[in-house]
Symmetry: C2
Subunit: 158 residues, 2 copies
């Protein structure tokens, strides 16, 4: 019988693999990627509870090409970098990081959510996943109406 | 006498040189440089008249090293990209470009203004110089108190 050795092999393999094979990687180095645009969500806005603050959108080289061509190839990564907004002194200034949101393109791996993997790293900590396996309800359902634009809300501007 | 030929030579040379030898170049390609930080100057702020709106700071590779080391080498360029801010709908959104401000490091060429050349390109148009030969009064006088920080206001953040 091969069952016992196969189980042992499977156990050995799984110990060396990530727990969630479809986990979205932390977007290492995104602060050096291209800044696409920014926006602040202020008190009174419908999305304030989840997204209040000043966010910056960054794109890696493949995602940047996607904004320009309208087609995002596998490996495109878009970051939604949300900071607290300090609105004292008749200015809006950057505060602490609230979350690093990520869209990571892999048409097969993330087929269930439009070909994009979604994740949020709380306070920008690569170890603290705020979305996990809730990507459909926490992210994709709101992005779905953007299907004609590759499920992306932001646009490139010069 | 050499005067006449020398004048002719000088005229010929000046025709082939830029009118202002110390003109700050337009920062071509800055949208792909590293985004340092952003801030919005709102109505009521002391600098609103000149700088009202949402500005993004971008640094080229040399300037980025300068933020990190505290010493800006010649060739460092920092861009202050000022956009109109639309504050309708409980959000602050990017509007049209108001000006592309530039600090261009060349310790000798711009010795009179702390080693930085200052310029502003109105609406981002490389042909429309808003500062010209007024860099001292229009820019440097406000930057001078930042001498200990290389005359730069912004700081790098992760």
């Amino acid at each position: 019988m091969f069952i016992r050795p196969m189980l042992a092999l499977a156990a050995a393999l799984s110990a060396s693999l990530p727990v969630h094979a479809a986990e979205v990687p932390y977007p290492a180095g995104y602060r050096a990627w291209t800044h696409v645009k920014s926006m602040a969500i202020l008190p009174g806005h419908a999305l304030y509870e989840g997204f209040g603050g000043l966010h910056h959108i960054y794109a890696n080289a493949k995602a940047l090409a996607g904004y320009q061509s309208g087609r995002f190839k596998d490996g495109s990564v878009i970051v939604f970098d949300l900071l607290e907004a300090d609105t004292s002194g008749n200015a809006l200034s950057e505060g602490k990081r609230k979350i690093v949101g990520v869209m990571h393109r892999d048409a097969k791996r993330y087929a269930a959510t439009g070909g994009w993997g979604f994740e949020g790293f709380a306070a920008g900590d690569p170890k603290v996943r705020a979305v996990g396996n809730q990507a459909k309800t926490a992210c994709f359902d709101c992005h779905a109406p953007q299907a004609a634009r590759g499920y992306v809300f932001s646009s490139w501007r010069e």
